[in-house]
């Protein structure tokens, strides 16, 4: 589902990264770990098409991201890539449900409230659907963010430090939930983290040098 080849990225002459090739199939999970300053976040942004690579290529769903640009890249990102960040953010003026519907609309131009509610139900937060996102607890926010990332049935689910702020019990729960949901949705799950606890859960792991 997602593959990279000889990916390089340079902020400037002093700071440049060569990333190892990765590959992750649908329904599988790949853990990418590394200490601070090894370019974890940059790597994630490259995978999502948020940063243009210096060289090398990224292929998602048989599409080379390097061949897309501007509006086409935005659209591809919306339709094929789901993202969950360490700090979850929402459009604060909209309700949880509206945030999910918005994600569907931005990617496909269609508003599908039914699917959004169903997804919220699957993640156990259907009762929160009409609340503003600021009213949710941290755990509920994370679930809502995962629901939003999955609403367009993405080929790849990219997550950035999903568990670093959580205690052992909750970290385990979130990791299980991510794996389960990505598996059900048939998405390749890529987790970028420095959280070593996750190595015990996911066995497919690449460490950035």
């Amino acid at each position: 589902m997602i593959q990279t080849r000889q990916l390089c990225f340079a902020y400037n002459a002093q700071t440049s990264f060569d990333f190892p090739d990765i590959s992750c199939a649908a329904g599988e999970t790949l853990l990418i770990t590394g200490a601070s300053g090894t370019g974890k976040t940059s790597f994630l942004h490259l995978l999502a098409g948020l940063l243009p690579p210096g060289s090398g290529q990224i292929v998602i769903n048989n599409t080379n991201l390097g061949q897309l640009s501007g509006r086409a890249l935005d659209r591809f990102r919306g339709q094929h890539i789901g993202m969950v960040f360490q700090q979850v953010h929402f459009v604060a003026s909209l309700s949880v449900l509206e945030n999910l519907v918005l994600a569907g609309w931005l990617a496909f131009g269609k508003k599908d409230g039914k699917k959004a509610l169903e997804l919220l139900g699957r993640l156990g937060i259907a009762e929160q659907a009409h609340k503003k996102t600021a009213q949710l607890s941290t755990g509920q926010k994370q679930r809502a963010a995962i629901a939003r990332a999955l609403i367009n049935d993405p080929a790849v689910l990219l997550t950035d430090e999903p568990t670093s702020n959580l205690d052992d019990k909750n970290a385990r729960a979130v990791a299980d939930m991510l794996r389960e949901q990505a598996h059900n949705a048939g998405a390749a799950l890529v987790i970028v983290t420095h959280d070593h606890r996750l190595k015990q859960i996911f066995h497919s792991c690449i460490e950035l040098p």
């Binding site: 940059s42 948020l50 940063l51 509006r71 935005d74 990102r77 700090q87 953010h89 459009v91 931005l106």
Partner: protein, 427 residues
């Protein structure tokens, strides 16, 4: 969907939105109200001087002569001799000359002696009944009739002078023979009779008063003095002692065949007679230049408030942009395009500006309604509250939207150029 988010985003920061909205409303209301007032005053004033080149009247302030004889907003400057006036009225350079004689009033509305040509000048038709023909027959302006003060066939006593509480003339009553169509000019608030009615009413009074003079000169002089204070329109002032030349009028409205007369006559008349000729166009211009300064100053104030409104929209959007950077980056990760972010911020500003424009226009109409009530009571001046002041308010709308766009431009461009990766990494 972007439109919905824009609207919800505004409501999400109600205080910022409120400030911008209030400022926009205030500025639009002030400017629109002034445009309306200026436009309508000008229209009213100019409609009334259509086809009047010069006005003949007693010496005094030319502005007062115009205000009294054309707009009926002031007391007349005095009276002139009808025979002498006729010498000028019959001049071949004159296309039309309409005499006006003020005498009585009814409930504060003047009864003016004139000829049917006065009706033609303002294109007034007799809507019901007939035009005045005999002595003491009057036709009534549309607004007086509309207020139900007088009805067709009603008889009433006039009050001396223009003061509402003057002494009633009980000797003769007037009879309403006709009601005029609405003209939108001063005519709507007048009652018109022939000249003879005015003369007859006051000849009688003259005899009456002279009789008194023999008995008690002192008391009559006092009474006359108080009359003169009450009104300059009084036809029997102390000068009116000659019975033969008693036919006096207050003013004559002239229209000339040749523009030469408009230039030459005022000086000729000033040299040869004790009367004056005043130009309505010149005096109306003078009025506008006088209160035009005030209106202009207020319009500048309106623009200044609009400038503040633009700044408040800008500051609100710009400040919000800091906290919303992440939210905007998020929209991009969800598949939103740069153009959509640009549109979102522009729309937020346009929402506010449109709301401000609409409420400002409504507020100005409401204010005009209150002003109209007061103007109606004090000046008998009716204002149209629901008309759209074209093209002034059209420009105001464009300008408001322009302000909306320019206030949002910088924040919108920042959103357009937002570096998503950097924003997300900076959390």
């Amino acid at each position: 969907m972007i439109v919905t988010i824009a609207r919800k985003n505004i409501l999400h920061r109600p205080l910022n939105a409120l400030l911008a909205w209030v400022l926009l409303t205030a500025s639009v209301a002030i400017i629109s109200l002034l445009l309306l007032l200026q436009g309508q005053f000008q229209q009213k004033f100019e409609a009334s001087i259509r086809d009047i080149d010069l006005v003949l009247g007693a010496k005094g302030s030319p502005l007062q002569l115009i205000l009294s004889s054309i707009y009926h907003l002031d007391n007349p400057t005095g009276n002139i001799d009808y025979v002498e006036a006729q010498k000028w009225m019959k001049n071949p350079m004159v296309e039309s000359a309409i005499p006006l004689a003020y005498g009585d009033s009814y409930r504060g509305f003047p009864i003016v002696g004139t000829t049917p040509a006065y009706l033609e000048k303002y294109a007034a038709q007799v809507e019901q009944g007939l035009v005045f023909q005999q002595k003491f027959e009057v036709v009534v302006g549309s607004e007086i009739a509309q207020k139900g003060l007088l009805t067709l066939g009603q008889e009433f006593f006039g009050t001396h002078g223009t003061a509402a509480e003057g002494e009633e003339h009980q000797e003769h009553s007037y009879r309403v023979t006709g009601i005029l169509t609405h003209t939108g000019t001063a005519l709507d608030n007048l009652m018109l009779s022939n000249l003879e009615s005015v003369w007859a009413m006051h000849d009688h009074e003259e005899e009456h008063e002279e009789h008194h003079t023999e008995v008690d000169e002192h008391a009559t002089n006092e009474a006359l003095g108080s009359h003169a204070d009450e009104t300059g329109a009084h036809l029997n002032t102390e000068t009116g002692t000659d019975h033969e030349s008693h036919q006096e009028i207050t003013a004559v409205l002239f229209k000339f065949r040749s523009p030469m007369a408009v230039v030459q006559w005022p000086r000729m008349l000033a040299q040869q007679t004790s009367m004056q000729l005043a130009s309505p166009a010149v005096e109306v211009n003078r009025i506008f230049s006088l209160f035009g300064i005030g209106i202009q100053a207020l319009i500048w104030l309106g623009w200044a408030i609009m400038g503040l409104a633009a700044m408040s929209v800008f500051v609100a959007l710009f400040n919000a942009l800091k906290e919303r950077r992440y939210e905007l980056a998020l929209l991009r990760t969800l598949g939103g395009s740069r153009a959509q972010l640009l549109g979102l911020l522009l729309l937020e500003s346009l929402w506010l500006c449109t709301a401000g424009f609409v409420s400002g226009i409504l507020l100005s109409r409401l204010a005009l309604w209150f002003i109209a009530q007061a103007a109606e009571r004090t000046y008998r001046f009716s204002l149209d509250q629901f008309g759209f002041q074209w093209p002034g308010e059209g420009w105001l709308l464009l300008l408001t939207l322009g302000i909306g766009i320019s206030a949002a431009l910088l924040p919108a461009l920042k959103a357009y150029r937002l570096d998503i990766s950097k924003t997300l990494a900076d959390e």
